[in-house]
Symmetry: C2
Subunit: 342 residues, 2 copies
């Protein structure tokens, strides 16, 4: 009798312990390296895209993945890979970051970016810069060459000047496509006699780029870069330069970069929340990322995240029609997706 | 036999469930209202303070508590109380916020503030404003009258102008004490031939003010306001205007306001982390706040937080010599403390 009841007790004890500390159901054998990217989420539908347009996006996403792969294969750090990949995406007019940044209400381009190092939780970020060709490169200088983590607007540019970073003519960021987007929104605003942005279409909000990397040392890094929202005013800062909202990396948990309606990503602390749910609730990266996007969705806001855990597991949830995204894991082919399934 | 073993099983089951969901050991009977304030943490020692100085601080802290109490007794909202109390503290030259803000490297005063509503997680924040007498009042306009959450520098002031908020002459923020602090740091910098802020004394970093309130409806709110760091440059943004770092409020968990070496409070997402540990690990507000300050301390950074949970429990941990702080709970006398114990 005693043996039987003890056995039953033991089984129950074990069952409850497991429930308390449900272990990560994912892969725990870390690949040599992994890299994940996004180029923004939104109403991205195949029917609205020409074959040429789709090919252009798939090509640049694959090129970005291959660029990061080369750095990581050669033993480069996750920070090196993230900065290099985002630089490439900032230089493309296809994304709302760097060259392809959207216009503010006043017809300017104000760029935000942030970078986080998972090994020491160090951070660099800039908000509202208008003359920095590659904001992501400036975030690395903020992280490594200043005791601070976030510089804003003209202040960030004054810091850039001390770092020998070339300031470009703001005209560099002028692209016809983005200029027309602004004109369309301004006309709509005038027609509605609205003194303020009341409606904001997907086209206004999205296109942010982000990159996460896990290097051979097991170090994670995350970066995000954006032009923000078409027709933004008043030095509006979104989630991209805000650590914990748009970007987060911690070697103990995961790296995250977000894209979407930034105000809601700030209010929900999306990037850090994913890490917190992994650390404190023992959720997998897929479970945590899905829950974080569900919280944003519960506020009727849209967007997506990419997340990469310390073991190379990847999650890319979004609640929009599509998200430009892709990943590459050591020894495997790159994967690029745009729509819900492919 | 069966009955005995079933009983034992039942007991074990109960024990393990309790372990999984250990309930908050604190008070769960909510007082009618509660309000908590801080006026900065740092090397605040009795031996360095005259009786008059100490009395001035104790008087203004008690006046702030009584101001908040009156609003909450009358059924005012936690947001009303937080904005009114912080306005009073901003108007005092004793704190590094509003009137008493420290000077930047260029001899300007650049103010940061944020406000969060625990009932809907709405947020308003401004960074680097130079002509706003009460930045906390501007954060409420950002929260309520714009679809955005954070405005920076000249942009934030342009928004203020649309809200009928009076812009003051920047000279309003000139106080001799803060001006001398800047001169001292600049002389030290010159002597060290340092092109950058290498050392940063407590006096440079601290004095931020914050307020948390729980109103009769059970709604929590949190606000923080600061002049930042003496000799700051490049549009440096600290943790005070960053939701999740310096300020957080959520009716489901707690309200938090932080003070200290802002860069580390950003890297550790201190304010949201306290809420996350309460929500995900079921820690009490005291346990969560203590852990958050321990994390900052592990990075050799200093500061403190005030935290108020949805049931009126209060925590005020800091790892410096002192922190100007106080609280008032419905039906009780206000409590004001400066040093470790009193």
């Amino acid at each position: 009798m005693k043996k039987t009841s003890l056995l039953i007790l033991l089984i129950f004890t074990l069952l409850f312990s497991l429930q308390c500390n449900s272990s990560n159901p994912n892969n725990s054998e870390r690949p040599d390296f992994a890299l994940v990217i996004h180029g923004g989420a939104g109403t991205i539908l195949k029917k609205n895209m020409t074959d040429e347009q789709e090919k252009a996006y798939r090509d640049i996403l694959e090129k970005a993945l291959r660029t990061g792969e080369k750095i990581l294969v050669d033993g480069g750090s996750s920070l090196d890979a993230v900065v290099e990949v985002i630089t490439l995406m900032e230089d493309s007019p296809l994304f709302n970051a760097g060259k392809g940044a959207v216009f503010t209400h006043e017809g300017k381009n104000e760029l935000d970016a942030s970078l986080m190092n998972g090994s020491d939780l160090n951070v660099g970020a800039v908000a509202g810069v208008t003359r920095i060709k590659n904001p992501i490169q400036l975030t690395r200088r903020v992280m490594e060459n200043s005791p601070h983590v976030l510089f804003a607007r003209d202040g960030a540019e004054a810091f850039a000047a001390t770092q020998g970073i070339d300031l470009v003519d703001p005209a560099y960021f002028h692209t016809e496509k983005r200029w027309k987007s602004l004109q369309k929104v301004l006309q709509k605003e005038a027609a509605e006699k609205s003194a303020y942005i009341k409606t904001s279409s997907d086209e206004q909000k999205f296109g942010t780029v982000g990159c996460l990397a896990l290097d051979k040392n097991g170090d994670l890094a995350a970066g995000t870069s954006t032009g923000g929202m078409t027709n933004k005013r008043f030095g509006r800062v979104g989630d991209s330069p805000i650590i914990g909202a748009g970007t987060y990396a911690n070697n103990q948990t995961c790296a995250v970069s977000a894209t979407g309606h930034g105000e809601y990503f700030i209010r929900n602390m999306v990037a850090y929340d994913i890490s917190a749910m992994m650390e404190y609730k023992n959720l997998s990266v897929e479970q945590a990322a899905a829950k974080a996007i569900a919280k944003v969705g519960a506020m009727k806001a849209t967007g997506g995240v990419i997340a990469l855990d310390k073991n190379g597991n990847i999650a890319m949830p979004f609640n929009t029609e599509g998200m430009y995204r892709g990943y590459i894991v050591a020894g495997e082919n790159p994967v690029v997706k745009i729509y819900k399934d492919n």
